[in-house]
């Protein structure tokens, strides 16, 4: 058992290293000139040379990479961000909670709605709910986030004036305990801040949740249908047990485990979509910084953000494995 996890860990490390090398090389090979962009048009050649030397851009690529890795482990720094003018690690630490909060709220929304929808669609095959479910699934993945975000802002922000257009909070942010505004405001019982945060997060979260909602609901539906043909469910039904119990306790358990892998990997995917959503809603998160960094050729920023996403991917992988063991005793017992 320990060996298994050790192997997995090694593999994960390999992937992270691979990604870091890939992105590192990619950004260094760029034809553009970020130094020029960062210093502005009045920079002299000496200034540019000086900066280039400071950023070690005149050293060979593998030396740069070694220095980079050393910086991470020795000093916890990810390099200077050209657009933020401070260390990328600092920037990410500041902005990541915002993105995480957004993604988690979106995932929560998606799960709350998609699971009952999927179960109901599966149990009423061919019926109204099933058709609705299918349409929702197809529509949900077809929206370009920048457009649906815009439409949301138009309708709910402008027209109905129900939600604010952009930003994470209108007033002052609550005391920083976890970095999650929603949680923090609850913890210090600040109702106003909670409502403020909620009304700000709802727009981007809803838009971000549409894709996963569509995917999960179809998945749950398919898995529930598979479950319904299983013999042990027939045995359950033969005892006359209430349908709802059979569905939500006995069938959903297995259906959900089967969906876990896909659901888990939706999280890194959402991080990608967040690049667009955060831009549209001016959400002060890591993804918006990432989008800006890419446009500005801020390579430290780009590599830093990609590394974090890669780590998230790896973390999700591990989390899924652990969850599987919890949910499926077969794996637990076999080990």
């Amino acid at each position: 058992m320990v060996m298994y996890y050790l192997r997995r860990l090694l593999y994960m490390i390999f992937v992270v290293i691979g990604v870091s090398m890939l992105m590192f090389a990619l950004v260094r090979v760029l034809p553009g000139d970020p130094i020029g962009l960062a210093l502005g048009p009045n920079a002299t050649k000496e200034d540019m040379e000086k900066m280039r030397h400071e950023m070690a851009l005149d050293r060979p690529l593998h030396v740069q990479y070694a220095m980079y890795v050393q910086e991470i482990f020795w000093n916890g720094k990810l390099g200077m961000s050209l657009i933020e003018k401070r260390d990328v690690m600092e920037v990410i630490k500041e902005k990541f909670p915002a993105t995480l909060e957004l993604v988690l709220v979106a995932m929560l929304l998606a799960l709350i709605f998609s699971i009952p929808l999927g179960v109901t669609a599966a149990m009423n095959r061919g019926g109204g709910w099933d058709h609705f479910n299918r349409l929702l699934a197809l529509f949900g993945v077809s929206f370009p986030h920048f457009w649906s975000g815009l439409m949301f802002q138009l309708i709910f922000g402008s027209l109905l004036a129900l939600t604010p257009l952009t930003g994470r909070i209108g007033g002052s942010s609550p005391e920083d305990i976890t970095g999650f505004f929603l949680l923090d405001s609850l913890l210090i019982l600040n109702g106003a801040a909670f409502k403020d945060s909620l009304v700000h997060v709802i727009g981007p979260a809803v838009i971000l949740s549409l894709g996963p909602l569509a995917n999960i609901t179809r998945l749950i539906r398919a898995n529930m249908i598979d479950e319904s043909t299983k013999d042990y469910i027939m045995v359950n039904k033969a005892t006359g047990m209430n349908e709802l119990i059979v569905r939500y306790k006995y069938m959903l358990r297995n259906a959900f485990s089967s969906s876990l892998t896909t659901i888990g990997f939706l999280i890194p995917l959402m991080l990608g979509s967040a690049f667009v959503v955060e831009k549209v809603f001016a959400w002060p998160g890591m993804a918006r910084f990432g989008a800006d960094a890419i446009i500005a050729n801020d390579f430290n920023g780009i590599v830093g953000v990609t590394l974090v996403i890669c780590l998230a991917f790896v973390a999700v992988n591990l989390a899924i494995d652990i969850l599987y063991e919890v949910l499926d005793p077969r794996i637990r017992v076999k080990r």
């Binding site: 691979g18 815009l150 890419i294």
Partner: protein, 290 residues
Amino acid sequence: MKEAALLKRKEGLARSWVRFRKNPLSMAGLTFLALITLAAILAPWIAPYPQDASLGVHFDKALSPPSREHLFGTDEAGRDILSRLLFGARISLMLAVIVLGISFSIGVPLGIIAGYYGGAVDEIIMRVTDVFSSIPALVMAMAVCVLLRPSLENSMIAIALVWWRSFCRLAYGETLSLKQEDFVTVSRSLGSSSPYIMFREILPNMTSSLLVKLTLDAGYAILVGTSISYLGAGASPPTPEWGIMVAEGRHSLPGSWWASLFPGLAIFLTVLSFNLLGDGLRDFFDVKVE
């Protein structure tokens, strides 16, 4: 004997087509796609103001609402949105074709090779694929595109370079299960060479999965492509690309809503049709493809 088999196959195909026809969603998708493709091809002839697609500017007509002269209104440079949409269709559809063409050609052979040979080849190819897979497509494509210098063509190349990984994985998975099948063993015992088995025996058996994937991915590729352009890393003005049209129209919100609404709607409907069609095909072939 062969005729009987052929007949049975035609019968089977005919039965499947009837089944496919019964699905109103897929038919809707197919119809709409056909319409869009037609519109895209005929754009230069059916667009009411073809010059608006590139250099025509009429600032006097800037941001006029939908009317009889301009069915979808005009944008901030006074250009007819409908015409630009039609030309935008060309761009997006072309993007889908190019991106999928490239990534298919890279990913599928790699996947088949990895699956067929196994061992070290398998490990290397699939590990590389894993590394490429751990970053969301949009992020990586944007990064690559920007590094190559932001432009429409480069965005296509960038997306293709990112997209091959899922084709690789699909082909890999299919190869793994197909190579256990009897016809492979028979073929091998008859002395067929490996490339022959891989590409003339195994590959044709995954056409249904590949077809479904191509259809669905066409939609997603367009989503990624337009997103890249929206963020400013792809097409640049005055190209009538749907993504930057939405970005440009954003400045005039909420007053001139048509400038952003219609291009986005076009994207949505196109992607939706690909999804409808792909979903229908998935049922039709009875395949499990995400």
